[in-house]
Symmetry: C2
Subunit: 358 residues, 2 copies
């Protein structure tokens, strides 16, 4: 541990900055990296930019998330946005609000995860900001990407198929497992099943990993856009019900969703059933899937599936864009009302409280 057991208040901002800067590698695309007033980077004619935060007490609790996985996730939720625009992630800045009693080991772990995930995805950390706070930790990442053409939320047409990648619901089930005391260690291995029986260890570990260390299908999204296989797309972060409605609104079309077709994560469904829960609700409203939601013209579905095989990505047709009014209906004709993440609202406070009550 050496000096990692001390609090950051004991070493001060300048020394912490020096410590973090020393760890950051740079490559040829970075003309001026961290340490000047601003970074200077080489860019192409079209640049993507997105920003997303993790706030303690709202998106995570320190006791739930090893710092390394938190660092990975802070970048991954932004990678998901760049993937959803079919871009290549390139440069990131990281702005941290840290309480002075935070252990240095936590900040080191956070940077372990950030740098590791950046290296995996070809991203350079080019700048950032450290601020003290009297409140919760805030990790704010801004990510720049490069693109030739972009995949937008608008563009879905009547007749297009509603396609999702991967499986849904495991991240939401992972959140429930965290509330029940299940934990991963810093290496992402199961540390405790909490109130789940040991026989469910494999499923618990799987759901915790999807929740704490999401892996959006970056390369697949780019390949999709290059081949013009889709009309529109976005990432699934707030839950399918709300996100599909958002895609419909931006494209000014309506959709019919067949719940029977949803690719509910099998291990999440199993855990959910042990609690007499509803696996379908998990897949519809759970959120944080960080998969892709796509509008695919029927004649290009085969091309999409061929490409998905190459990238080892599951794709599932779950409905059709079939109307002009931007609403989502189930097969039964019933309108699907989003029950997804909403900050500030009382329902969200309950959620935040629920996060905090563990």
């Amino acid at each position: 541990m050496s000096d990692a057991g001390i609090a950051i208040g004991q070493i001060g901002e300048r020394e912490l900055l020096r410590r973090l800067r020393r760890r950051i590698p740079t490559d040829g695309g970075v003309l001026v990296g961290v340490g000047d007033d601003a970074a200077a980077i080489a860019t192409g004619p079209l640049t993507l930019i997105t920003t997303d935060s993790l706030v303690e007490g709202v998106h995570f609790l320190r006791e739930w998330t090893p710092a390394r996985l938190l660092g990975r996730k802070a970048l991954s939720i932004n990678l998901s946005d760049i993937a959803a625009m079919a871009g290549v992630p390139r440069h990131a800045t990281v702005s941290l609000c840290l309480p002075s009693d935070l252990p240095l080991a936590f900040v080191d772990g956070l940077y372990d995860g950030l740098l590791e995930r950046a290296a995996e995805t070809g991203v350079n950390l080019v700048g950032g900001n450290l601020s003290a706070t009297n409140g919760p930790i805030v990790i704010d990442v801004t990510l720049l990407g490069q693109a030739d053409r972009v995949l937008r939320r608008q563009g879905a047409q009547q007749g297009d198929l509603v396609v999702v990648t991967g499986q849904l619901g495991a991240a939401a089930e992972g959140m429930k497992a965290l509330r029940k005391g299940a934990r991963l260690d810093a290496e992402g291995n199961l540390e405790s099943t909490g109130r789940f029986s040991e026989s469910l260890a494999g499923a618990v570990e799987h759901c915790l990993r999807v929740q704490l260390d999401p892996t959006p299908p970056l390369a697949f999204a780019r390949a999709l856009a290059e081949r013009e296989l889709v009309h529109a797309g976005m990432d699934l972060s707030d839950g399918l019900s709300g996100d599909l409605l958002a895609l419909c609104s931006e494209s000014r079309v309506g959709a019919r969703l067949d719940p029977g077709c949803l690719p509910v994560d099998l291990q999440a469904a199993m855990l959910e059933r042990t609690r007499n829960g509803d696996p379908l609700a998990l897949a519809l409203h759970g959120g944080e899937d960080y998969q892709l939601l796509l509008a695919v013209p029927p004649e290009r579905l085969e091309g999409l599936r061929d490409l998905a095989v190459v990238w080892e990505i599951a794709t599932t047709v779950v409905g059709e864009f079939d109307a002009a009014d931007p609403r989502v209906r189930l097969e039964s004709g019933e309108e699907l009302v989003p029950a997804s993440h909403e900050h500030f609202r009382p329902s969200r406070h309950e959620r935040a409280d629920a996060v905090a009550e563990a």
Copy 2:
């Protein structure tokens, strides 16, 4: 007021996002603005990027700062970094952590200031993020700029003159005035002189304005770089003593500073003397000046001064880079020890407490 008197928790995240998005104009350089997974912008071959935050309780108190001025400052502190690299500010993202009981009027005011300052400086707001928080307000801005050549911190040479723009110390004196109860209203006019006598109203208003609504010399910095009049530069944000040492470290030179030459803000000095304070310490260590610190070869000083006249910017020679070891000495030979902003450290806690005690 109408709905501006309600709290943001009453209208929810989606409605707040819709409300803010409606206000954001876009221009031709923005291919995809707010509302998609990421923004897409047109960029040149060299892009500058910087990020800086304002954290409640550390950088501001709600009672001290009208929301509109806070919005302006959140952008201005980033503009200062782009200016210090000799760039043209272009695109910004704004990431906000907001408590749910925050009045909607506060968020509207914040955006009034952000959009106004963005319009003044040719910046497009292209994205952002809203998050709930159980803690202090955090305003995190990332600003992209465009540049042909950049002005770096490294490059100062022995024999170069140490030059600062503008006057120093007014922002720090403005902070003291805030602690004494002096206030500006949302239009930036004096609302109260606090514990200062009415006869000092003009000076109090001036210092509050410099503190709450800084105006870094954007155009001048670009013109400087175009004409290659300086070897190195940075912005003065942490205080001259610390910033000059940083410039020395990056350029691997030492400097001699003549305190008698410092352009201490006259009105700040007057206020400081009414409290038997030390105007020089204010100018040396006060911070938040958001002026430029430059390394100017003597033969180009006249060119710099000619240019400064055009842009109506004061420039003052305050010393010389005259040694190889990266230290700063006063005329007396004494080493200048920075007493500038340092987060996390106990000294900084005292400062944060001092901020909070008002």
